[in-house]
């Protein structure tokens, strides 16, 4: 019994899980779930699908080159059982996993450096270009305008208010007059 890896997404496949396809040349393909199986049947390339390990590895999203990764391997040399060896192996497994997670974290950090700077630059640029959308600025603008031309504005407003109704009244009168003419 062993934990296989999914042929498509490299997810671990525990015994009794998933499905195996055996091609007529005796190559076995193990799939963790129907999603992977279906994608395989559709002849999709796992390297081109973002959700697979194959993609993440080929796109440098995960640690690929590291000494911790060479510990687990299928060795085709049968080793005779030794209790001491298995004991050390179990200890080593734990330690290797520990180191591996540590390095993966470091790898992630390394990969993400520069993101903060980029984000800040983008923020700065956005704020600079869109000053008018900020509430305080609007308020301030309106206030200053109001203070500067308080009297003038009121005058003008009154004038316009008077002018428009006057024009409308004239138009109405004309129409009425026209009607009257027709009657006559």
């Amino acid at each position: 019994m062993r934990i296989e890896t999914c042929y498509f997404c490299s997810h671990p496949v525990y015994p009794s899980k998933g499905i195996t396809f055996v091609r007529n040349d005796a190559k076995a393909f193990r799939f963790c779930r129907s999603k992977c199986h279906k994608n395989f049947k559709m002849k999709r390339n796992p390297r081109k699908l973002k959700w697979t390990k194959a993609f993440r590895k080929s796109a440098n999203k995960e640690m690929v080159v590291d000494s911790t990764l060479s510990f687990a391997a299928r060795r085709n040399v049968p080793t005779r059982y030794s209790r001491d060896l298995v004991a050390t192996t179990l200890k080593a497994m734990q330690r290797v996993t520990e180191i591996q997670t540590k390095r993966e974290r470091a790898f992630y950090k390394q990969r993400m450096t520069g993101n903060t700077a980029n984000r800040r630059a983008a923020d700065r640029k956005l704020v600079e270009e869109n000053q008018h959308m900020l509430p305080e600025v609007r308020a301030r603008l309106q206030q200053t305008e109001a203070e500067l031309s308080d009297a003038e504005e009121t005058m003008q407003e009154e004038a316009i208010a008077v002018a428009i109704p006057a024009r409308q009244r004239q138009a109405k009168r004309q129409v009425q007059a026209g009607d009257a003419m027709d009657i006559e």
Partner: protein
């Protein structure tokens, strides 16, 4: 390789058939339409072609027949003689000769008439000449009637001749008629030869094959021979004589001492002596058949003496068998084959090829005469043979099974035979999976050294500061910018969403701006959200709005107390206003939408013109414009009919 069988000779047609074949071929393969109006050169060419083609076909067909039959001078003397006896070589040769002559005659006729046609003056002349030529060719062919018939018979007979290979290992069975030659062939080979109790059952040569020492032998059964001069022998007997004379073989001379065949012992011995000259350079056995009836020892002295005369010289050996009881058959066969093989090997050794091969054979020996013994381990040598009755015998797995309760109860423990460094480890339970990993993938004899190397590398990396993390702390300024940027993004998204929802409206009916319910609180909220002071605007709007219900109005007026003019209007009871008055009131007045947004008449006309112009293209292309309304089907067929396999009722 000289040919030994002639099974694939093409059938020979009769003279009439031959003629039909050739003439029909001529009509089929040459042009048929000619008119007297054509140029004379063309007419001549047409008939020349006919004549030449006919001649070609004749020649070709005759040559094919001539080539198909074997040339007597090219084949093995045995076959040549056999053919001579069966078909009469002279007759055969003459028949072929006649065909060959006919061929030449036809060629001659063709040449003559071609020459004549060249000078023919009309179509009629040409045609007559062609007819004459073909007629003469046909006459020549008709004269071949007999030879063709004869050759066809020869062909049929040749095809059925047994495939006798004169050079292979051969046993030849001969003797008086009815002495048991065919019975012997039947008993040693798979050949299905007719055996009957009368003389001359076998009228021709028969061949059977059998294997001895993985080599293929052929046994030839010959018809019986009578003792009279060669000239008087008939065709049947001559076949035997031919075979005896020409085949390099072992000769088994069959004798019947019981005289059931109808010939006396003396006569049989006499025959042997008379054909003895043919046995030169051959291995000869005298085979006494039917020993179940009479054995050589039982004969009278006179006959015994006669038999002894045959065996004089020591080269001829006597063998005994009985086809009836099958006694001695295989001995005879083996003895004959053995002698034949020995003779053939001896003959081969005399040739140069054998010495060449012998010179090349080399068997290597260890240097210095050292003997190389096979290695047998001591454990194997000391091992005692297993004996069931021995009390100190080895204990087998079978014995353990019997002790532990027998088959079905006892389960063999394979682990006890494990070869490990420590006996205690045999029954250990080893984890296969640990922490989601396969333990067996990690098992490696030099894992410790590898792990040590990894630890060293880890220490080095830590010392180098590989794992150090740089925490960038953001100051107040940056935090401010971030908050602002987030706000702007949100606003932008809202604008985008609004635009999208507007677009989603498409050409559906839109509620006019005026009719849209909008209340002051919404305006106030949105203004406050963008940071504007909304109080003055709200106050103004409230003041301008039409009065509410009586109860609300009184509250409103008390709030607005100071505005005398406002109170004046509001106090005026709306319920008392006539409809006309209401329609004319300033509050309900509508702005003219045509004039909205344009400064003067000219600008308006210009705007209208531009609007028309813009619409022009849409109309021309029969595109959906602003004014088009689309009413979709109330029950779209594709959404409401059929079974649901995948998807939902309203999304398909």
């Amino acid at each position: 390789m000289v040919q030994t069988t002639w099974k694939a000779i093409a059938p020979v047609p009769t003279s009439q058939e031959f003629l039909d074949i050739v003439l029909s071929r001529t009509t089929r393969k040459t042009p048929t339409v000619i008119r007297s109006g054509f140029k004379i050169s063309r007419i001549r060419a047409f008939y020349l072609r006919k004549v030449k083609f006919t001649q070609d076909t004749f020649t070709e067909k005759l040559q094919a027949i001539l080539d198909g039959f074997p040339k007597l001078q090219d084949i093995h003397p045995f076959h040549k003689d056999l053919m001579n006896t069966l078909y009469d070589a002279d007759h055969f040769r003459i028949a072929l000769g006649q065909l060959s002559t006919a061929k030449h005659l036809i060629e001659q006729v063709c040449r003559d008439y071609v020459r004549l046609i060249k000078y023919a003056q009309s179509l009629f002349q040409c045609k007559q000449l062609k007819r004459a030529a073909l007629g003469r060719m046909a006459t020549i062919t008709r004269r071949l009637k007999d030879p063709l018939l004869y050759l066809e018979q020869v062909r049929q007979h040749l095809g059925r001749l047994p495939g006798i290979d004169p050079n292979t290992r051969t046993l030849l069975i001969c003797g008086y008629p009815n002495v048991g030659k065919s019975s012997f062939l039947r008993s040693i080979t798979r050949a299905d030869v007719d055996v009957q109790p009368y003389a001359f059952t076998t009228k021709s040569l028969f061949v059977g094959h059998f294997d001895y020492k993985y080599l293929r032998f052929q046994a030839i059964d010959t018809p019986g021979i009578l003792d009279h001069p060669l000239e008087e022998m008939n065709t049947i007997e001559m076949q035997s004589i031919t075979a005896i004379a020409h085949l390099k073989s072992v000769i088994l001379y069959f004798m019947d001492l019981s005289e059931q065949c109808g010939y006396s012992v003396a006569a049989q011995v006499q025959l042997f002596h008379s054909i003895k000259p043919l046995f030169a350079n051959k291995i000869v056995f005298v085979v006494v058949n039917k020993i179940d009836v009479v054995k050589p020892e039982d004969l009278d002295e006179e006959s015994q003496k006669l038999i002894q005369t045959m065996l004089q010289g020591g080269e001829v050996e006597m063998l005994q068998l009985s086809c009836h009881t099958e006694q001695g058959i295989s001995e005879v066969k083996n003895k004959a084959c053995e002698r034949l093989l020995a003779a053939r090997v001896e003959q081969k050794l005399k040739t140069n090829r054998a010495t060449d091969i012998l010179n090349r054979i080399h068997v290597a020996q260890p240097i210095g005469g050292v003997t190389r013994e096979a290695f047998i381990p001591d454990a194997v040598k000391e091992r005692t043979k297993y004996d069931v009755n021995d009390p100190n015998r080895r204990k087998l797995e079978k014995d353990i099974e019997a002790e532990e309760g027998g088959a079905g109860v006892y389960n063999i423990n394979l682990k006890k035979n494990y070869m490990l460094d420590n006996e205690e480890w045999k029954f250990d339970k080893v984890p296969e999976i640990f922490d989601g990993k396969n333990v067996y993938d990690f098992i490696d004899p030099d894992i410790e050294s590898k792990l040590a190397a990894l630890e060293a590398e880890e220490e080095r990396l830590e010392a180098e500061g590989f794992y150090d993390e740089e925490e960038s702390i953001e100051d107040d300024d940056e935090a401010d910018i971030r908050v602002k940027a987030e706000f702007i993004r949100e606003q932008k998204q809202l604008i985008r969403n609004a635009a999208r929802s507007k677009k989603a409206l498409k050409n559906r009916a839109v509620i006019p701006r005026q009719k849209m319910p909008k209340n002051i609180s919404e305006m106030k909220n949105s203004l406050e959200k963008i940071g504007l002071d909304a109080s003055t605007v709200v106050d103004r709007a409230r003041s301008k709005s039409r009065g509410r219900s009586v109860a609300n109005r009184s509250r409103a007026t008390s709030e607005m107390g100071g505005d005398a003019e406002m109170r004046d209007i509001s106090m005026h009871d709306i319920s008392q206003m006539t409809l006309k008055e209401r329609a004319k009131s300033r509050v309900r007045s509508q702005s003219n939408r045509r004039e909205d947004g344009v400064t003067n008449e000219g600008a308006r006309t210009k705007a209208e013109k531009i609007a028309k112009l813009n619409q022009k293209k849409m109309n021309r292309m029969a595109r959906q414009g602003e004014a088009d309304r689309h009413v979709s089907a109330a029950l779209p067929k594709h959404l409401f009919s059929g079974k649901r396999t995948i998807g939902k009722t309203n999304r398909r």
